[in-house]
């Protein structure tokens, strides 16, 4: 008998019973909701005459459609956004669940506030009707994105009927070069294995390069596992993670802490564990990356030219991407003028991300006519950044300094960058019209976005450190 993977241990510990050869009834420890999809789940459940089984396990935040302009309230630029906010609030109050409403210091993007408040913990199962829930696997929890019907199921039963995913380990050997960030690593991996490269698999990231990442950098990496079509991502929790959680709002208290840590220390794949797939990535080969097309897999090193059209169906997709993005095969992206820069989202809007961008912006200003926006990932990140004066650096550089939320990570009919505008962005998706109808999105790290904002065109951040 070979050993168990970290995933096997989490799965077994939460398996109430097996339903058939592939599917089990899995106990769910925490449920997160937001106003974009959570309101509808709670409302539909209530309309079916069903109750939330354990409201203490359910946390709701306002992040997706709320405005991020200063002085915001329930009114939104998105035409029907107010309805999402008020209906989610009403449903949350009626269900008796915990709500981090507008104005609450704990409000923010769901995948940022959950670790911040220790709602997610190593060894827990956590679900949220949002595809980037995989972010939270960075803390050693089995956390994955679900649809609304599944959210109703989890709310009503504290379980889900889950088809067991296959396992895959991505071992990242060596260490990231100084110039490369966790975002560059994430883009490098999706460019290497493709946007369906981990379909049906739970990906465990392991290896020295992962151990060396900070807890926040691990979240950036795991955030983009959904761009590989993974079931979710996982990283075995270590001392950094334990230290991260100590003293946070919903972390185990003093009387339970030692037990918790003892349990968490067992959350590793056994040395002889067998994975369905194994991939090795050499961190030493990772350099600053940027996306050129309309899928995260269409990413290249900053110093590479835009790839040419390939033969066959992939070539068709590439030609479409070239046309949409207004880039030419064989041309460099460096030097391409940009209209806007966006620093935000659950990928790259935690305190360490803002610090890295601010270090580049300090004493510099953004190019004339360029629109630059910084949206902290949570109200807490915003407050901490302000306490150390980062907001002033962003403002002095010419950035808008916003309230916390998803903001222009995605376009829901509210604010957008506009058709044909070229945006360099710290977000995770560059799909057609993701940030606005016809908007052209280039994904990159906070450093690359900050440096490009200063230059007014795409640049390599290495010259700006």
């Amino acid at each position: 008998m070979s050993g168990l993977t970290l995933f096997d241990k989490l799965w077994d510990a939460h398996s109430v019973r097996s339903l058939d050869t592939q599917t089990a009834l899995i106990a769910i420890d925490r449920i997160l909701l937001h106003e974009r999809t959570g309101g509808i789940a709670m409302k539909a459940l209530a309309e079916d005459g069903r109750a939330v089984r354990d409201p203490a396990r359910v946390f709701v935040t306002m992040d997706h459609v709320v405005d991020t302009l200063p002085g915001r309230g329930d009114r939104t630029i998105m035409p029907t956004g107010t309805q999402f906010i008020t209906q989610t609030r009403e449903a949350a109050l009626a269900a008796g669940v915990t709500l981090f409403d507008l104005g609450d210091p704990r409000q923010g993007i769901v995948h940022v506030i959950s670790p911040e408040n220790a709602i997610v913990l190593p060894g827990l199962t956590l679900v949220c009707p949002d595809s980037h829930t995989c972010t939270q696997g960075a803390l050693g929890a089995l956390a994955w994105g679900i649809g609304s019907s599944e959210a109703e199921h989890a709310l009503a039963t504290n379980t889900l009927r889950v088809k067991r995913p296959a396992t895959m380990r991505i071992t990242v050997t060596g260490l990231l070069p100084d110039a490369a960030t966790a975002k560059d690593l994430a883009l490098h991996i999706v460019a290497t294995i493709g946007s369906a490269g981990a379909r049906g698999h739970v990906v465990e990231y392991a290896g020295p390069a992962i151990a060396a990442l900070s807890v926040e950098e691990r979240m950036t990496l795991c955030n983009m596992a959904t761009e590989l079509a993974a079931f979710t991502a996982l990283i075995a929790p270590d001392e950094k993670v334990f230290a991260y959680f100590k003293g946070r709002s919903y972390a185990p208290g003093a009387s339970q802490w030692d037990d918790a840590v003892a349990h968490w220390r067992c959350l590793v794949s056994d040395p002889d564990a067998q994975f369905d797939r194994e991939i090795a990535i050499d961190a030493g080969n990772v350099a600053p990356m940027i996306s050129w097309g309309t899928s995260p897999e269409q990413s290249i090193r900053l110093d590479q030219p835009v790839p040419a059209t390939l033969a066959g169906p992939a070539g068709h997709a590439a030609a479409r991407s070239h046309a949409y993005m207004g880039v030419d095969a064989g041309s460099p992206l460096i030097g391409l003028p940009i209209d806007a820069a966006f620093i935000g989202s659950c990928t790259n809007a935690r305190l360490s991300d803002l610090r890295k961008a601010a270090a580049i912006l300090q004493g510099r200003t953004v190019a004339p006519g360029l629109r630059a926006i910084c949206v902290p990932g949570s109200s807490r990140v915003k407050a901490e950044a302000e306490a150390e004066g980062l907001d002033q650096i962003f403002r002095d550089a010419g950035f808008e300094w916003r309230e916390a939320g998803c903001s222009m990570c995605f376009f829901a009919g509210g604010e957008s960058f506009g058709a044909g505008e070229r945006v360099i962005s710290t977000t995770n998706r560059n799909f057609e019209s993701r940030q606005g109808h016809g908007t052209r999105t280039h994904l990159a790290s906070p450093e690359t976005v900050a440096a490009s904002a200063v230059a007014g065109h795409i640049v390599d951040p290495r010259g700006y450190r």
């Binding site: 203490a56 079509a229 829901a412």
Partner: protein
């Protein structure tokens, strides 16, 4: 919520043969205007379907607008169909528009689950047979086969999804049969993993 069971689907199949058709493309976020599961068919593929979204002027070049595919219940796609956001609105919009099955090379897992829960049969087939489906297509879930123009190909759907689609089952009702088992599991877990439960009890929870 229960839906119409799906055993067979017989229809022309609309070829939208692109890879990575994401849920933003299927139902753009701007088309999700209310806190409801309905009223979405009009927004299906809005970014591709209309020359002008405001006036809803159809783009004659987009496949769904061709007269030949009016009323079709099967949609064909490429690899990684339904990637991107987990929004179930994508499945609701497809179902409301009238699609009962999607045949694609592969599916995003969340989207796959959302289809099954809303009475849309996801069929994974290779590119070659998909390209050949240019006459009336007959999908039979009981035999797990796709037939077209005298040819037949097998496909596989996992047991749980199959049972749900064939019977139009409500998974919540199904799971509630195990309520005692869930309660017993929790009683044991609450003692074994005090640290996971204690933070949710008492004064911290507000």
């Amino acid at each position: 919520m229960a839906f119409q069971p799906v055993r067979t689907v017989t229809s022309a199949a609309v070829p939208l043969l692109r890879d990575n058709i994401d849920t933003d493309a299927i139902i753009p976020s701007r088309e999700m205007k209310s806190v409801a599961k309905t009223g979405l068919a009009d927004g299906l593929f809005a970014g591709w379907r209309y020359l002008d979204e405001k006036t809803r002027t159809p783009d004659p070049a987009f496949v769904l607008n061709a007269q030949r595919w009016a009323g079709a219940q099967i949609l064909l796609g490429g690899q990684n169909f339904g990637c991107g956001s987990s929004r179930e609105h994508a499945a609701w919009a497809l179902a409301e528009y009238g699609f009962r099955a999607i045949i694609a090379e592969s599916f995003n897992p969340i989207f796959h689950g959302n289809c099954v829960r809303n009475g849309i049969l996801p069929v994974a087939l290779d590119a070659v047979p998909i390209a050949a489906l240019d006459a009336v297509v007959h999908i039979d879930l009981t035999t797990q086969t796709v037939a077209c123009a005298g040819q037949e190909w097998p496909f596989h759907l996992d047991e749980e999804s199959r049972a749900m689609l064939l019977d139009g089952l409500d998974p919540i009702a199904l799971t509630l049969h195990d309520a005692d088992l869930i309660a017993a599991f929790e009683t044991h877990d609450r003692a074994a993993r005090r640290w996971a439960w204690e933070p949710l009890e008492g004064s911290l929870h507000d």
